[in-house]
């Protein structure tokens, strides 16, 4: 039983990390709010389903098309919405949240309701680890989450573009004096974050079915992980995913699954009271001190 908790806790943590990665990139690292993140997640899921089932496009190609569409959606969202309210954090949050609601409700309006919206797994079957069966799709989630974490750490710390992402979060104007165009980087950050939401969707959604409600759930989980870990910290996202993920699994196993959802919300509340910048949120901590 303990081995099973370790395995499924790891998978749960990986799902949270995958879900939070794109949100952390835009809102945490570049300081651009994207509260339409959950909507983009289901947008990508439904798009793959439409390409695959309605238009008969190959699965792999459908995924690529969903990535491109999500990237474009993120980019356009910056150009036509964020740009007009840039620098007003509350307006950015409200504008993107409103757009997210509109996207989700549009799918509901277009009759994307029911259980038939499901994506096929990449690799069928399962493997026994310590006598506990785990399907390949879940293993893939774990592998992708670890790989993406490593890539992102290096991207945001050792590449020009990654450093530019962090620069615009610290100060737009100073970044401009150093030759960084905040709008170009901001648009790219939102586009990249959106395609990461699409990546999370195509890997996680085959575990179950696609429903509009997934969008709300994803946004709450992403927020919880980023707040606990500290906005902008890749390491923080990982640590928070592990903390929240294992806490949820342990709660489900030793208390009741009923209380699982409270773990994320309680974690947000505790961190905001004890350490508002999050466990690894150095930048925000500095800002708070100043």
């Amino acid at each position: 039983m303990f081995a099973a908790i370790l395995i499924y806790g790891f998978i749960n943590s990986s799902i949270l990390a995958l879900v939070a990665m794109g949100f952390n990139l835009t809102f945490g690292i570049s300081g651009v709010a994207n509260f339409a993140y959950g909507a983009i997640y289901i947008f990508a899921g439904f798009l793959v389903w439409i390409f695959l089932n309605t238009l008969g496009v190959n699965y792999f190609l459908s995924i690529i098309l969903a990535f491109i569409s999500s990237y474009l959606l993120g980019y356009l969202m910056y150009r036509f919405i964020i740009l007009r309210v840039r620098g007003l954090p509350l307006s950015e949050v409200m504008a993107t949240f409103g757009l997210g609601l509109a996207i989700m409700e549009l799918f509901r309006y277009l009759d994307f309701v029911g259980v038939k919206y499901s994506l096929p797994v990449f690799i069928d079957g399962s493997v026994s680890i310590g006598g506990h069966f785990i399907d390949y799709q879940r293993l893939l989630i774990g592998v992708v989450a670890v790989a993406l974490t490593v890539i992102f750490y290096f991207f945001t710390h050792y590449t020009k573009m990654g450093l530019a992402f962090r620069a615009i979060a610290q100060d737009d104007e100073t970044a401009l004096t150093l030759g960084i165009d905040p709008d170009r980087i901001g648009a790219f950050s939102l586009a990249l974050g959106s395609s990461l939401a699409a990546l999370a969707a195509v890997i996680i959604l085959p575990l179950g079915t696609i429903s509009v409600e997934n969008g709300y759930e994803v946004l709450i989980n992403a927020l919880a992980v980023c707040i606990v870990g500290g906005l902008g910290s890749t390491v923080g996202v990982i640590v928070a995913s592990i903390l929240v993920g294992y806490s949820q699994t342990l709660t489900a196993n030793y208390i009741e699954p009923h209380w699982m959802i409270l773990v994320s919300l309680a974690a947000i509340a505790v961190v905001l009271v004890v350490k508002p910048s999050g466990i690894f949120g150095k930048q925000k901590e500095l800002e708070e001190r100043v």
């Binding site: 099973a4 259980v115 079915t209 759930e217 489900a252 699954p257 009923h258």
Partner: protein, 425 residues
């Protein structure tokens, strides 16, 4: 010139009024049916479609005869969203009030999706004396309220299955599993909503304890949960032979996939809404053979022994281009409109009290079987379609078809164990 224009205008006005305006002026005033359900949930969406199907049929045939006139039905639906997590009951109450006070709904059809809200709305319809027929909410508390304070709550009726009747169908299935395969260890997983909690409680109290089963574990999941591994691990560790799921949320599809991928050696027998419809076979990658699922009302599945259920199922498919996927709600939604028509015609009035009195006496054969209300305003369900309304249990077969396996009066085949699972005796 001016005089000529005036005369022409008057003549034109009279002509439009006398000839062009005739159909509009003489068209009978429609009887408004308010539908305040959760349209974002499969049962709500398909339930509304079934209501519209019945309304279209009735209107095409001339409408409802009341006060010597034929009047059409008109449906006004509100997505009250009561089934969604975090939506308070007050929102559903508002939807009911809007339908009654602003849209002048004479009847509430289908009602609130969740029992939590439906029970609260009994006070609303009682206050305005508007008869309400429920199509999804399943808690037996509704009947208790009717019996306890008839004068106040007599306006509420339920056409769909309730939790108590569901238990009877589940109990029959468990008895078969016990007798045929020697199974007596069960793990219960239920959604944390009123009807599912109550069903779980009653299954423990009225079925498993009496039948000598061992309940090796029980866990409740809030609506929206998307990981069921903890319960499945426990079920396996504790040697459960049967898993009894009770869920109506879309995310419960994940449970089916996890049950298969984790290779849990137990029969899945209960209710998971995504497992009910014909598309489940494709959605779950052809991996659900052996799963046993409740269909709360026949008609949502065609049952050869009840021709009206087949007729309704086919009419629905012909109108909307796809078959019914929900195992709960559409068939009662369709039947309740016809029930209402009968009651209004019998009462020859739209007065709430008179229609309630007529509904109490009305009987008909519908898509769900023979329909008749009990004293507690619940349609009586049983095992003989000639005498009662019917629910059933289906089992997914290896060829991707659903076969009715319980009750014996409707059964098309016997329960078979899923591949790899051995009987306990």
């Amino acid at each position: 010139m001016k005089r000529g224009i005036l005369i022409f205008s008057v003549l034109a006005f009279l002509a439009v009024g006398l000839f062009g305006g005739i159909p509009a002026a003489r068209a009978a005033k429609p009887i408004i049916l308010g539908v305040p359900t959760s349209l974002g949930f499969l049962e709500g969406k398909e339930g509304l479609k079934a209501v519209n199907l019945a309304v279209d049929e009735i209107n095409k045939a001339g409408g409802v005869k009341v006060g010597g006139k034929m009047r059409p039905f008109k449906v006004i639906a509100i997505d009250a969203r009561g089934a969604e997590p975090g939506v308070p009951v007050s929102e559903v109450i508002k939807a009911h009030k809007k339908l009654i006070l602003e849209d002048h709904a004479k009847f509430i059809v289908f009602g609130s999706f969740r029992s939590e809200a439906a029970i609260a709305c009994m006070d609303v319809v009682g206050k305005y004396k508007v008869p309400m027929l429920l199509g999804t909410a399943m808690s037996p508390v509704m009947q208790k309220k009717v019996m306890k304070n008839y004068k106040k709550y007599k306006y509420t009726f339920r056409v769909c299955l309730n939790a108590v009747y569901l238990i009877k169908y589940l109990a029959g299935t468990m008895a078969y599993l016990n007798k045929q395969f020697g199974f007596n260890k069960v793990f219960i997983m239920n959604q944390d909503v009123a009807w599912a909690r109550k069903t779980g409680d009653l299954m423990v109290k009225l079925v498993f304890k009496k039948m000598g089963w061992q309940v090796v574990g029980r866990q409740a999941y809030p609506t929206g949960s998307s990981d069921f591994s903890s319960s499945l691990m426990k079920a396996k560790a504790k040697g459960a032979q049967v898993i009894l799921p009770i869920f109506d949320m879309p995310q419960s599809g994940i449970l089916v996939k996890q049950w298969k991928s984790m290779k849990i050696p137990a029969v899945m027998a209960g209710f998971i809404s995504p497992l009910a419809g014909p598309s489940a076979w494709k959605v779950f990658d052809h991996k659900i053979s052996g799963a046993i699922n409740a269909i709360f009302e026949i008609g949502n599945i065609p049952c050869a022994k009840v021709p009206k259920s087949v007729e309704f199922f086919n009419k629905y498919k012909a109108k909307y281009g796809k078959p019914i996927e929900a195992g709960h709600a559409p068939a009662p939604g369709y039947d309740m409109v016809y029930l209402l028509k009968k009651a209004i015609e019998k009462a020859n009035s739209l007065d709430g009290d008179k229609v309630v009195a007529a509904l109490e006496k009305v009987e008909m054969d519908g898509a769900i079987g023979h329909i008749k209300f009990g004293k507690d305003h619940q349609v009586i369900y049983g095992t003989d379609p000639a005498k009662t309304a019917m629910g059933c249990m289906i089992q997914w077969r290896k060829d991707g078809t659903r076969q009715i396996v319980f009750p014996p009066s409707l059964a098309e085949g016997k329960i078979e164990l899923p591949e790899g699972l051995k009987p306990a005796k």
